[in-house]
Subunit: 344 residues, 2 copies
Amino acid sequence: MQRTTVALDLLGGDEAPASVIAGARLALAADPDLAVTLVGPPELAEDLPVVVARQVVGMDEDPARGVRSKRDATVRIAARLVRDGAADAMVSVGSTGAALAAAVFSLGRVPGVTRPALAVIVPAPGGPLVLSDIGASSDAGADQLVQVALAAAAYATVALGIDQPRVGLLTIGEEPGKGDQLRRDAWPLLAALDLGLGGPLRFVGSVEGRDVPLGGTADVVVTDGFTGNVLLKGLEGAVRAVAQVLVTELSATAETRAAAKVLLPSFAEVSRRWGPEGAGGAILLGVPGVVVVGHGSSSPAAVAACLHQAAEAHRAGLVGRTTQALGLLVARRREQAGLQGSPS
Amino acid sequence: MQRTTVALDLLGGDEAPASVIAGARLALAADPDLAVTLVGPPELAEDLPVVVARQVVGMDEDPARGVRSKRDATVRIAARLVRDGAADAMVSVGSTGAALAAAVFSLGRVPGVTRPALAVIVPAPGGPLVLSDIGASSDAGADQLVQVALAAAAYATVALGIDQPRVGLLTIGEEPGKGDQLRRDAWPLLAALDLGLGGPLRFVGSVEGRDVPLGGTADVVVTDGFTGNVLLKGLEGAVRAVAQVLVTELSATAETRAAAKVLLPSFAEVSRRWGPEGAGGAILLGVPGVVVVGHGSSSPAAVAACLHQAAEAHRAGLVGRTTQALGLLVARRREQAGLQGSPS
């Protein structure tokens, strides 16, 4: 198999560069077909291959402005490596906004996409699912939700290995008339795509907030970036909250403390599954390249998970599948424009 | 102390009337100053006081239409008892929409309120907080979020016993410019209320999804009904998902199974705190009466918790405090109308 090369932002993340380098070593040890190109100051790269970049777009900086003004920013150089074919994918555990801005700036968008979306895999007990958008854009319109649905369905075929993923629209209440205006507008568009064009989208109607952590009702959950971000952060917080309450309860007596000791590995396993280490990072959908962004607090294991996720998405042909899925939308628009242009 | 009378919908809930009657008995046994008036078919009421109502607005029915067409619906009669002073509060564990529609239909709205909001108390480990709106209305405008903030702050003074609750706006990212258009519009209005009028509102800026389950950053979290509903159902699902994963992990070996047995009461305690039994139901804010709506799946203990919550809200003067808080908004609007009417 040909090696997959991932460009890795050496300066992103709370513990950079140490955690980034340690993560790269972990990933390289686990995957003989992986190559990592660090992007950052060469004097920090130890013995790993490096492409020079000396600027960083900080977490507290305006991402678009930072990327535009810093020609030598790590994320901008990394995205350029992907654009030029010198890397197959890029990973950053720095500012999500900066990675996103750099990707769109250097790579552009897949035809049919007006704004890219971020997706994560939620390791729900009823079955893992793709949740998107989790914050790439706010104030989405119904047409954007259709783009998110197609791109996220393409990602589900790649990441979950499901040929015809079930796509659900995140809303409140189960009937088509329920939810807010955006959901009422998006519903018939999604239902029409399903019926009219075939392709990778199998629309199963609405799902509710509980379906995301529990799983089982859809393989892809489509929402706007505002709602998706609030929900995802809420779920992460809920898992931590339960852990905090359990720890308090478990310290109550000597008997429970002893039992807790036996179960600590199980709790650790639950946290791992739900935390960034298990699930990898967020992947950017709708750009012609593989871009993964991890938590700023990523440990070496979490950095390695992001590298693995990026390499696998490249190997499974994410960009081709996304382009194909969005092509349905482009074809449909052309068809409608044609029909409207020449009424019989 | 004068007795507090709560009108209780005898036909609402998956297990009605058995769970409703059992819940009433539990609550009456625990609170000697409580009286319960059942609202429903007298032949089902056993030996408890009852006001006759024979129709029910079902979970799958259009709530507003159901309430309008069914003059003899339990929720409509219950709301009328509150309006006429025959009851101090009402509780239903049936259709939330029906209880809401009946309350607005019979009681009207507190001055300054265009649409009432639903609020719950989230038992976060960092400190309990009020989350509102959790689904009374979709497609809120910025002005409605201000109403939610004032009414929910009034509820926090009553339910959490905090004189000057910290009010946070649920959004993504921490800066005033972050979030979607609705949040960007609401931010300056909330900040201005805080500075300009004093009163019960202490605006602490933005909070994120994780702050709701973890607590500690705000006593009141303000959001639109769509986002609030998705988040709340997500949190409930996450707690169940963690429990499911833990149960699987805990069955792995004889040692972990033995430890799990010791800890089962602790898990039950966590579930109780997070479930409907511990936290009561959702309370309707912005109507001139106390209205509590519980989960359709409420157990007798959960029904009793709703009765307790409703009685306490009445005793603490919820309606008066809400009216006072919203009065700030009414006064401000009048002031602005006056200023605009007569420019100097």
